[in-house]
Amino acid sequence: MRTKLLIAGGLGAVGLIVLLFALIGNHSVRGYLDDNYKRVSSNGNSVVYASDQKPTAVYESMRSAVSPADVQTDPEGYFLRYSDDIVGITASGTGSRIYVDDERHGYAHWFPFVAGVWGTGGGLGEGVRGGGPGAGK
């Protein structure tokens, strides 16, 4: 009886801890950027951060901290789409610049890289992101 109750209590405690972590965890990309990078400038909902890390390192850190819904790549940077924000990570000297905008402004700012993929107005790339050949299982 006592052993069973201890097991049940352990299960419940672990479940509660997992729930607390899920609820308290950092779900905002803006909060993560504020906590980890240096703010350079801001204009309304558009904020620019700077990092000494290279773009790939910044991208991997951000992806691990707050999972994006989609990622686009280009030789000029990484572009991450979240529910309300679009983040662009580009090289700047030996480090990086991180641009976060709301969805509409971010789509406009990074239009040459995400057009036709995350929205309307672009012709390039629409075929690529439109689906595969369908030959596989």
Partner: protein, 349 residues
């Protein structure tokens, strides 16, 4: 002459048709051209050749997708490159009827050095499942487009800087297809697991409490009914009494015997053995023989019994005694409820 012309035309057609090196097995031609143009810009900025080579076993038919900064359908080996980074992948698409699964693998080949396969894996842009899935073109596109970024991080090329475009370029364009909630994407699985663990703990606790409160039940087979035989053989002796109190059994107290004599109403009639029958003048009550004194050998002879004409006959303890014994006091009547007098004690009117 006419045959020669036909053969020549056929040769021209064969030469004119693009070979298996066309990009159509993975990409649409426009997408392959766009990716090649992107790599061309990177090559011009970094002086590093980039390209891709995807060999596909398409249900037994060998096909490939090739491209580089030199154009779609052109490998980087066909150009003059001091440094090169190429994504090479091998994909096997099996028929639906085949039991074997699709398979794929990829590597990043850098010459003379540069990004590695692990560097590309860390980006989580391309996986073997992606290569065998329906969105293989999008996954390969992203992976190849990231090669210049990896080359810059590896130190074999200078990074390409970019800045946001003016919003006027995207006039009329708008994002579509909501990507969904960040919260649920980030914490959905954790919430699900936490809730499941919590539920499992609650259910297990309920089970533990329920099972601990249940008393240890004994299996009952129903009430044991006393079975009294209709006839008792004369040689029958209850084993318990003989073993427990042999002295009393040998010389029973008549008074005690009287007490142990069951009442006629409670005792079913017991057939007396033929030798124990009394004359008709002194009829034996049907229930006069107690079970405890059924044995003739242990039958005591009461003192009040007159000498019988048949000395060998075992005396009946209830003979005479039953008649001489004072009548048993009547059972105490139940106390009548207040306000309702007993009918027997009710005064006669």
């Amino acid at each position: 002459m006419r045959r020669l012309l036909v053969v020549s035309a056929a040769l021209l057609m064969v030469v004119g048709i693009p070979g298996v090196a066309s990009a159509d097995v993975i990409f649409d031609q426009a997408d392959a051209d766009e990716l090649a143009a992107t790599l061309t810009e990177a090559y011009e900025a970094q002086n590093v050749c980039y390209g891709w080579l995807i060999t596909v076993d398409n249900e037994g038919v060998p096909q490939e997708s090739v491209g580089s900064n030199f154009g779609a359908g052109t490998r980087i080996t066909q150009g003059d490159c001091a440094k090169s980074v190429e994504l090479q992948a091998s994909v096997s698409w099996t028929p639906e009827s085949s039991e074997s699964e699709d398979s794929a693998s990829y590597t990043v080949v850098s010459t003379p050095g540069g990004p590695t396969t692990e560097d590309l894996e860390d980006l989580d842009l391309l996986s073997e499942d992606d290569l065998t899935g329906d969105d293989v073109d999008a996954a390969v596109y992203k992976a190849v487009a990231a090669l210049p970024l990896l080359a810059a991080d590896a130190g074999v090329a200078s990074p390409i800087e970019a800045s946001p475009a003016p919003e006027s370029e995207a006039s009329g364009a708008a994002p579509t297809n909501s990507p969904g909630s960040d919260f649920w994407r980030e914490s959905g699985m954790m919430l699900l697991w936490g809730a499941l663990l919590l539920l499992a703990g609650a259910v297990f606790a309920w089970y533990a409490i329920k099972t601990s409160r249940r008393p240890a039940r004994r299996r009952t087979i129903g009430p044991v009914q006393e079975q009294i035989p209709d006839t008792v053989p004369p040689e029958w002796t209850p084993a318990e009494e003989a073993a427990v109190d042999p002295v009393a059994f040998a010389a029973p107290d008549p008074a005690a015997e009287q007490k142990s004599t069951p009442s006629p109403a409670a005792e079913p009639p017991v057939a007396s053995p033929p030798a124990a029958r009394k004359p008709e003048a002194a009829p034996e009550p049907p229930s006069a023989r107690p079970k405890s004194t059924a044995s003739p050998a242990a039958e005591p002879e009461p003192a009040a019994e007159p000498p019988s004409a048949e000395p060998a006959e075992p005396a009946k303890p209830d003979d005479g005694n039953t008649a001489e014994a004072p009548p048993e006091p009547p059972a105490q009547p139940a106390e009548p409820p207040p306000g309702k007098p007993d009918p027997e004690t009710r005064p006669e009117s």
